[in-house]
Subunit: 361 residues, 2 copies
């Protein structure tokens, strides 16, 4: 088992990574406040792992909420079902929420914990690769609005994160690939060496080699933890983690939440960011090619849907959270392993990138 | 004009109290971040003061949301109308929300500001006495759930509070009385001298004497600011501000939000707390009598609805935010001007208090 610490002062917490952690009750129990524990999961994950998790909670007063599975349910209505369950079970301000599932379960449970009685404890047990390397680290919680992804939420840090790599055995190939998109992101924005390692080990990752997966998860979490520790509330550097997300969120919102997986939209968005960077002469065409090949090797899409027009992209991108003073800023690449947030890009070149789909069609 | 500071480190802010402040654009403008300002008000207050407030925002990109008036609309659905308006107007993370209205508008707008894009700036212009002395100070924001008052929310401090005492001219008598309940609370929990001043000046307050009102508001805000500065997130002393609220919230939830005004429910709840304190021998019967007389002089109810049973009270009180480890704690009085939070009260005496209505009927 490996242990990482996300260093956030009084809100610091540990991430445990290893096999068969779901059997280790003491890991979970020492972070529980109060006696009441609500486990929130979804209809796909609950049949697989809920029993194990409840088994770790012997002696506590437990209750469960099972959400429908999918990004399209990450909204205020689903959030309210958690509040209703908490109130029906008379859960008090010293209760603990446990998120058992992927990014949607984690984000919505975290926001429920941030808002219930103005804030209660929560723990994360991410069961998808994407949640393990991304949404479980850094305390971003929230739900979608029909007009914008993750537009409603809070920063609320978990008290611990338990990553049992065995849970990846039950993940379908498409979900695994979606997680690999975020793993590749860390190489692109921060660590050219890790990117090269991914190129050399993508076959092993896709074959679910446990050692390779554990290393990729640990390296990803370490990079994210470093960046978050430097800028918890995203006033600066943390925005780099959003490589590909401005384009990707627009794709997710436009195509209807759940149609494209988050990781798939981010994969395409990252290639669009790389493309735009190359058009400015900041990134070598060779690096764009490497990114495209690695994403495709992982089984990810790299061109936006044909149906999306430049106008639709621009409309949806105008409410991105990185907009300041009405000016859109994008995460772009200066080099392999080196990202910047900038509003100084050329509109004509952005238009060319936004029309990538048409060109590829 | 008087100025108070709520001392909360980097989240400190100022409260301006005086006549005709709505004409002083510079007071508001220096606290606005970005260029986009959303004014949230309700159908009662907007026709009276929205024009003045928009007049203070010349040069900014403004939009407005007008909510229906009443506690029954303080819910997630109404909250979502604010998010929709923000997104329709393409408001970004550097926008500012302004709450113009009473406690409901302030609480819901504050929670919208806490949650939109995970947190944007907000300013308070409270137009009811209750909002001026209570909900505008301390950063408690949120909405109700059908099963519990203020069960969903966040701590989110405003960047400034503008209290224009002229707005009290348009307040109806019942709303004025509801505000006086919270004013009397500060005397009961913290300042016997202020309580005596209120006894001597209640007639002037009810006659809307501007000087008396300004003094009552300033003294109330000062006491609340002191308590909040010592315990922003209510881990201790801040709970004292909840005198009467555990009983009061149960009345509000049981009778349907909006039937009893918050201040009316708190008035009755405070007398129930005083009654229970006296039954333990902690408070002199003489003090209970003084509290009852002052509340009644203010025009407030002091007995719970006949329709509420002890069982209903106990059921609703069991999800109070002050419950720890399954144990209900109440704010009770040890003396005039001296409150405590305690779980050490006798259940048989609580039963007697909860049956006050029957006894009075």
């Amino acid at each position: 088992m490996n242990t990482l610490t996300v260093d956030l002062g009084t809100r610091s917490y540990r991430i445990y990574i290893g096999q068969s952690l779901l059997g280790k009750a003491e890991l979970l129990q020492k972070y529980i406040t109060g006696k009441q524990v609500m486990v929130v999961s979804n209809e796909t994950v609950a049949p697989l792992y809920l029993k194990d998790v409840l088994g770790m909670l012997a002696g506590f007063e437990t209750a469960t909420v099972i959400l429908p599975d999918g990004e399209q349910y990450k909204n205020l209505d689903t959030l309210n079902t958690i509040f209703s369950a908490l109130l029906e079970n008379r859960f008090n301000r010293d209760c603990t929420l446990v998120a058992l599932g992927g990014g949607v379960v984690g984000d919505i449970t975290g926001f429920a914990a941030a808002s219930y009685q103005r804030g209660v404890s929560f723990l994360q047990i991410p069961t998808t690769l994407l949640a393990q390397v991304d949404s479980s680290v850094g305390g971003k919680t929230g739900v979608n609005h029909p007009q914008g992804k993750n537009m409603i939420g809070a920063f609320h840090q978990p008290r611990c994160v338990l990553i049992d790599t065995n849970t990846l055995d039950t993940l379908d190939d498409r979900q695994l690939a979606a997680g690999l998109a975020e793993v590749i992101k860390y190489g692109l924005i921060h660590d050219a060496g890790f990117f090269a390692w991914l190129e050399a080990n993508m076959d092993a990752l896709k074959a679910r080699d446990k050692q390779a997966l554990a290393y990729a998860i640990e390296r990803s979490c370490t990079i994210k933890a470093e960046i978050v520790a430097a800028d918890e509330r995203e006033n600066g550097k943390r925005a780099l983690l959003n490589l590909g997300h401005t384009f990707g969120h627009a794709i997710e919102t436009c195509t209807g939440y759940g149609s494209w997986l988050h990781g798939e939209a981010v994969a395409t968005g990252m290639l669009m960011a790389a493309d735009l960077s190359a058009r400015h002469g900041w990134l070598q065409p060779e690096s764009v090619k490497r990114a495209e090949q690695l994403l495709q090797l992982a089984g990810l899409p790299t061109t936006p849907p044909d149906s999306m027009s430049e106008a639709q992209f621009r409309e949806l991108m105008s409410i991105d959270k990185k907009v300041i003073g009405g000016k859109l800023r994008l995460v772009l690449l200066k080099n392999m392993g080196e990202a910047i947030v900038t509003g100084d890009f050329r509109q004509d070149l952005l238009s060319e990138t936004l029309n990538m789909a048409g060109k590829n069609a």
